[in-house]
Homo-oligomer: 194 residues x 4
DNA sequence: GATGAATGAGCGTTCATTCAT
DNA sequence: TATGAATGAACGCTCATTCAT
């Protein structure tokens, strides 16, 4: 049987990751308003001071959460195969799953975008939002070339609308999760995917 | 005829209102995260302790801001006259004006709805959101009866979509005000108002 | 019998003064290294947070201690009457008294000057030191004009030497108080005052 | 002939010495108030924890700095040859050089003596100070026996004055280096060495 | 009603020290 | 010997709230 030494590098990475996730969950649950570094540390079973080994300041931790959040969000766009119609169908399928199993993601996204309106990490938020919209636009315009959507649509405007709508639904994922479902159904209708 | 001095009741009311407005503006600028009762008090020229004569706790002040915000928001729906088409046209005109001249309103709405996801004043937020959506739905269904929208629409879904879309745009009013304009234009297109 | 209401202004001034004195004494006893705002507050019987009502930051408190220290030190130079010889005699008498009854003053002066070498409040320290030296030089040169010192002295150099010597003695007031006495005796000898 | 690698004892000694020097320089630059063991360790290229292999506690490191400082200071008294006049001339020449090229030494001495007033390593400071004064007194009294100083001086008092004056000048080496030069010139004048 | 003073609880952060590897 | 990880105790400071005047 092979020796499987615990790789010390990954231990550190793991703990960093655990802290990011704990902070992420705290933000989802209590918002930035309720984020306390001590609590985050306790959640992963370490002392409040130890957290500063991994993240020099609270703000650095938050930035790591931002990256984590956008990575997860953008991963919904990865490896979409087939025709534009198939790609959008798959994308909306993933979105639906996300809303049901990981609503925290869209909540944290909302928290982050709102925070950006007050100047914190604003340019990063804008950039990530633009990336999302562009990716959708690419799929949509490919479909337009094939007259795939069953009606005339303007790719850029539709992409913007989808993004804004999903972001708006993210504001309500705890209190009114049905709003997200309604939004997704609406998108399906616009693209004649139902 | 007797002199009618500014009676003390209205003085109190005025000051309460001034405090609500100051809190509202602070939330718009810095978010709930950056709301300090002392700052609010200083903005209206009173001592931080004096504020507690008007609002027992910070939370009570915030609730008053909630009421104020929703009143202003719902006032966009007041006195809409004429046909459903005219009513929607007027409503969107008002919305456009709001976005340009008082973006704070939608920003505070976003802050508030997000906060409600963490359990604070959640039922109130749900109720106000439902009121907004219902009012729109009423206009839209009246239009449907007259085949006013140039195409087949489902009133309830359309009302929900409009509300969610505007709320989503509210997340971006500082960093990307163009998103709100795009959303409104999109709504006009759905309703064939352009 | 007259009513003697407790003047609220002086209450605030008194507490500010008490905090300055408490900080002064802490510095004398433990140095800047051992100065804790909480301890200072507790010494005057108030909560650590309350101290910040009177001094916004620790640094502001320290600056107030600096002013207090230099005022007390320079007060030794006030109202020196008579001939230059009499003035110096009186000055050294006061210095001797100070060393015996309030050695803290010269210790805090040493702490402060040393701290200034690391850049903190340096210009203030230089200015206060220059004032001290100038005042002495004025007396000494007046005496020179009257050939009062029994021998030829160079006023500026003598003033500088006296100041530096007293400051050096201040480094030892706890462990070797005799060094201050020796220094003063030495000065008397230079000026033929004994 | 066998290879004689840098034996481990001297490696350890070297590193200890490097740490002492680094601590010494940090104290000169930022005072005891600004001394951080981590910083000292990083300056010599080791981890903060590793420093504790060489010095069990911060206080032990500081004591080593004390010894180092006094050794360097007393080395100015080594190998003074010739007549008392020649010895004092040489001593003051060295002192002048020290002030210009290694002001840190007198600054750290001041920091250390001041710290001793608060009870830390007090007896050691007293002892070292006494040694310095005695050595000077020996030279001065030898000169007195030869009527070397051009005037009547009291060896013990003069030695004490010189030490205190130099210590006082040490308080100002950064902000007012001219004070040290003035002090040395004054000493030369007292001993008719100019 | 209005205020200055006061407070307790808590916050993000620092740092000398310990310890398993 | 050397280190990264971890910790407890503390620090300066903030803030909503209370209270006597």
């Amino acid at each position: 049987m092979a020796i499987t030494p615990h790789d010390s590098t990954s231990v550190k990475t793991d703990r960093r990751h655990a802290l990011i996730v704990a902070a992420f969950e705290t933000i989802a649950e209590r918002g930035y308003e309720g984020l306390r570094v001590r609590d985050v540390a306790y959640q992963v079973g370490i002392n409040g001071a130890t957290l500063h080994h991994y993240f020099a300041t609270k703000e650095v931790l938050i930035q790591a959460v931002l990256v984590y959040t956008n990575e997860r969000l953008h991963s919904l766009l990865h490896d979409l195969a087939g025709t534009p119609v198939e790609q959008m169908r798959e994308y909306l399928r993933r979105l639906r799953l996300l809303v049901r199993t990981e609503p925290e993601l869209l909540i944290v996204l909302a928290e982050t975008n709102l925070r950006a309106q007050h100047g914190l990490a604003q340019s990063y938020a804008i950039q990530q939002d633009a990336y999302w919209q562009n990716q959708l636009e690419n799929i949509l315009s490919a479909g337009v070339a094939q007259q795939a959507w069953g009606r005339v649509i303007e790719s850029a405007a539709m992409a913007a609308t989808i993004v804004t709508l999903v972001e708006g639904a993210g504001l309500w994922l705890t209190a009114r999760p049905d709003k997200a479902e309604a939004a997704i159904r609406q998108i399906e209708q616009w693209l004649a995917l139902n």
